[in-house]
C-alpha cells in the first residue's frame, strides 16, 4: 500500500516535471551542435565551438522571444556515433536545429534523420559537393570543395601554369577537388601530367612528392584535410621541389590559418584559392578576428570557425524571420536566399541548392608584422558550387 503510494507519487512527480519541461520548452529553442572534439579532426571542433560560443556571447541568447540553448556533442568524427547522437537530440532533447558535422560522412549519416524528422541540418564544416543534395533539410554555411578548385584552375592557366600534377587525399572531398580542378584546368588548355591519390592516414609524403617531382610539372595541385597540409608543405621544401621551380596551388586547406604560423617561412609564396583568410580586409572580419583571438588565448580563427559563426547567424536570422516559429520546413524556407555580410565577405544561401554562395579569393602566403598570413590579391565574386552546376548541365 505504502509502496504503491510512493510509486504513484513518483509517477505524478515525473508527470509534473514533464509538463513543466514542455511548458519551458515552448520558450526555448535547442540547437544540437555535433562536432568532433576528439580524434584527428579535433582542430575543426575546437575552432567551430569557439566561434559558435563567440557568436552567442556577442548576440545574446534570446531570439524572437525564444531562449537559445546550445547543446554541444562530440562525435569524434565517427559517422555511427554522429547518427546516434543526432537521434538522441531529435527524440529526447527535441532540438530545433542540428548543426556542425566535421567531415562528409558524418553529415551524410544524419541526412535521412533530418528528412524524416523535418529538422534543419546546418552543415558548418564538411565540404563535399553533393552533401546538400542528400536531404531537403540540409543547408550549408561552410563551403563546397569545387568552389575553390575551379577558380584556382582558372587563375593557374592565366598565370602561366600549364603542367600540373594533382595530389589529393583519397576520400570524397579530395576526389571532388581533383575532378573539379582537372575538368576546368583541361578545358582551359592546361595539362594534368599525373594524378596521385594517397591514403587519408598517410605518414610520409616523400615517395609521392618524389613521383611528382620526376614529372617536372609547373605546379602541384594539392588537397589534404586541414592539419596534414603543414607536413606536406614542409616535406615539399625538404625534397627541394620549391628549388626546382615547382609551385604549390590548391584550395586553402593546405595553408589553414590555424596552423600557418607553425609551418615556418618555407610556405611563403604558396598560392591558394579559398573563401576565408583571417587577413581578409573588412571591418566585419577585423572585429571578428580580434574578438575571437581575445576569447581564445590568441588562437587565430580559420575557415572552419567562420563556417560555424555563419551557421549560428543563419539559425538566428531564420528564427527572427519566422517570428519564433520552430517548424523545420518554415525555417529552411526562411533560410533560402538569405544574404548577409560574414567575416569572409558577402555571402548568401542559394535558394535552389541550399548551398552557400561566397566570394573565392586567390591568396599568397606573406609575412606581416612577423606573422604569416594568406594575403588576398584577386577575387572571384559570388561563386556558386560548380560541382552542382556541372551536374545540372548533364
Amino acid at each position: 500500500m505504502a509502496r504503491s503510494f510512493v510509486i504513484a507519487a513518483a509517477i505524478a512527480a515525473f508527470g509534473l516535471a514533464a509538463v513543466a519541461d514542455t511548458s519551458l520548452a515552448q520558450g526555448t529553442v535547442k540547437i544540437g551542435f555535433i562536432i568532433p572534439m576528439t580524434g584527428p579532426q579535433q582542430s575543426t571542433g575546437k575552432q567551430e565551438v569557439a566561434a559558435v560560443k563567440l557568436y552567442m556571447a556577442q548576440h545574446g541568447d534570446t531570439v524572437a522571444g525564444k531562449k537559445i540553448e546550445l547543446i554541444i556533442k562530440d562525435d569524434g568524427a565517427v559517422p555511427d556515433k554522429t547518427k546516434r547522437i543526432a537521434q538522441e537530440l531529435i527524440v529526447n532533447d527535441k532540438v530545433t536545429f542540428l548543426a556542425g558535422f566535421g567531415i562528409t560522412p558524418t553529415a551524410l549519416a544524419v541526412a535521412p534523420l533530418a528528412t524524416q524528422a523535418k529538422v534543419p541540418e546546418i552543415v558548418t564544416a564538411a565540404g563535399t559537393s553533393f552533401i546538400t543534395e542528400r536531404s531537403p533539410y540540409i543547408v550549408r554555411t561552410s563551403f563546397a570543395v569545387p568552389q575553390s578548385c575551379v577558380p584556382m584552375a582558372d587563375w593557374a592557366v592565366k598565370n602561366g601554369i600549364k603542367r600540373v600534377v594533382t595530389m589529393i587525399s583519397d576520400y570524397a572531398p579530395g576526389i571532388d577537388a581533383e575532378k573539379s580542378f582537372t575538368a576546368e584546368f583541361v578545358k582551359n588548355g592546361g595539362k594534368v601530367v599525373d594524378a596521385i591519390r594517397f591514403p587519408l592516414a598517410n605518414p610520409d609524403f616523400a615517395p609521392f612528392l618524389q613521383r611528382a617531382a620526376d614529372r617536372k610539372p609547373d605546379a602541384v595541385f594539392i588537397f589534404v584535410p586541414s592539419g596534414q597540409g603543414s607536413i606536406f608543405v614542409r616535406q615539399f621544401v625538404q625534397k627541394g621541389l620549391d628549388k626546382a621551380g615547382i609551385k604549390i596551388i590548391g584550395p586553402g586547406d593546405v595553408v589553414d590559418d590555424d596552423l600557418l604560423n607553425g609551418m615556418g617561412d618555407q610556405v611563403i609564396g604558396t598560392v591558394t584559392a579559398h573563401f576565408y583568410s583571417a587577413d581578409h580586409d573588412s571591418a566585419v572580419n577585423k572585429a571578428f578576428v580580434a574578438a575571437f583571438e581575445k576569447a581564445n588565448h590568441g588562437m587565430r580563427p580559420n575557415f572552419m570557425a567562420v563556417g560555424g559563426y555563419d551557421g549560428m547567424h543563419l539559425m538566428y536570422a531564420a528564427l527572427k524571420k519566422t517570428g519564433g516559429n520552430t517548424d523545420g520546413t518554415a525555417l529552411v524556407n526562411a533560410m533560402k536566399g538569405m544574404s548577409w555580410e560574414s567575416p569572409r565577405g558577402p555571402i548568401s544561401i542559394d535558394p535552389q541548392t541550399r548551398d552557400i554562395i561566397h566570394n573565392v579569393y586567390i591568396r599568397r602566403v606573406e609575412k606581416k608584422n612577423g606573422q604569416l598570413y594568406n594575403v588576398e590579391f584577386a577575387t572571384f565574386p559570388a561563386v556558386k558550387d560548380p560541382g552542382k552546376a556541372a551536374e545540372k548541365k548533364k
Binding site: 591514403p199 605518414p203 616523400a206 615517395p207 613521383r211 614542409r234 621544401v237 625534397k239 627541394g240 618555407q266
Partner: protein, 286 residues
C-alpha cells in the same frame, strides 16, 4: 630511383628507432606495451617545448628528449608496469591501451590538438645532390644517427655484461635470480632505454611523421608490424624488418600510388605466412 631507396632507408631507420624499444619489451621481456608510442610522443613534445619555446639548439633538444623519455619510462616502469609483468597478455593490453588514451588526452589538454613542428636548423634543410641522387640532409642525418644507435645496441646486447645479464634474465628469470642477477633492475634499465629511444625517434621523426596528440594511436600499428615481421628476439630482426618495410612502403607509394598504402601490409602477410614467428625468430625455447 636511388632517391626512392634513400627515402625508404631513412624512413625505415626512423621506424626502427621508434619501434626498437617495443621489440625489446615485447620480444625480450614478453610484455605487451602498446603505450610505447606515448613515450615517442613525449620525446617529440619535449623537443618542441625545448627548441621552439625555450630556444635550445636542436641537437640539445633531441638529446634531452632521449633522457626525459627514458626518465619517464623508468618512472612508469617502477610504479606501474612492474605490477602487470606477471599478468596475462589481455590485462597488459588493457592496461597499456588505457595509458595511451590518457596520454592522448593529457597532451591534448596541455599542448592543444594541432600539429606541432620542431624548428630544425636551416643547415639541415634542403638536399644534397650526389651522383644525381637527391638526398635530403635531414634524412641523411636520420640514417647516420639511427645507424650508430643500431650498432651501439647490437654491441651492448652481445658484448657487454649488461647485455648478457639481460639475455639471461629473459631466458629464465628464476635461474638468473639464482645467479644473483638483479632481474628487476635489469628490466627497469632496459625499459628506460627503450622508452628513451622512442623519445629520440619521436623528436627526430616529428619533421617527417608529424606530431599531434593522436601520434601513439596512429603509429601503434607500424610499431607492431615492425616487431611481428622482425621477430622479437634480437635487434637485427626488427632492424631488417624496418628497412624492408620502409623501402617497401616508399617504393610502393612511388611506383603504384593507388596501391601504395597496402604494400606494407602485404609484406607483413607474406613474411608471416613464410615465417610465422618473424624473419629472425629463434625456435621457441619454452
Amino acid at each position: 630511383m636511388l632517391t626512392v631507396l634513400f627515402d625508404g632507408i631513412s624512413y625505415g631507420m626512423l621506424l626502427f628507432v621508434l619501434a626498437v624499444g617495443l621489440a625489446v619489451t615485447l620480444g625480450l621481456m614478453n610484455f605487451v606495451n602498446l603505450a610505447h608510442g606515448s613515450f615517442a610522443m613525449a620525446g617529440g613534445y619535449i623537443t618542441v617545448i625545448l627548441v621552439n619555446r625555450i630556444g635550445f639548439p636542436f641537437a640539445v633538444g633531441v638529446v634531452l628528449a632521449f633522457f626525459a623519455a627514458a626518465a619517464l619510462g623508468a618512472l612508469f616502469e617502477r610504479t606501474l608496469y612492474v605490477r602487470v609483468y606477471e599478468k596475462n597478455p589481455l590485462d597488459q593490453v588493457l592496461f597499456t591501451i588505457g595509458l595511451v588514451f590518457m596520454s592522448v588526452a593529457a597532451v591534448d589538454y596541455v599542448m592543444g590538438s594541432s600539429q606541432q613542428f620542431v624548428q630544425i636548423p636551416s643547415a639541415l634543410q634542403g638536399q644534397f645532390h650526389v651522383f644525381g641522387i637527391g638526398m635530403g640532409k635531414y634524412r641523411l642525418l636520420i640514417i647516420v644517427i639511427c645507424g650508430l644507435i643500431t650498432l651501439g645496441l647490437q654491441l651492448a646486447l652481445t658484448r657487454t655484461r649488461f647485455g648478457s645479464r639481460l639475455r639471461a634474465a629473459v631466458d629464465d628469470q628464476r635461474v638468473a635470480r639464482g645467479l644473483g642477477i638483479n632481474v628487476g633492475a635489469t628490466f627497469g634499465i632496459t625499459f628506460a632505454i627503450g622508452s628513451g629511444l622512442a623519445g629520440l625517434g619521436g623528436a627526430l621523426g616529428a619533421e617527417i611523421l608529424g606530431l599531434d596528440p593522436i601520434f601513439p594511436l596512429r603509429y601503434m600499428i607500424y610499431f607492431l608490424i615492425v616487431v611481428t615481421v622482425g621477430g622479437g628476439s634480437s635487434i637485427i630482426g626488427p632492424f631488417f624488418a624496418s628497412i624492408l618495410l620502409g623501402i617497401g612502403d616508399v617504393a610502393g607509394k612511388y611506383y603504384v600510388p593507388t596501391l601504395g598504402a597496402f604494400v606494407i601490409y602485404t609484406i607483413m602477410i607474406v613474411v608471416l605466412i613464410w615465417r610465422p614467428l618473424g624473419l629472425f625468430a629463434r625456435a621457441a625455447s619454452r
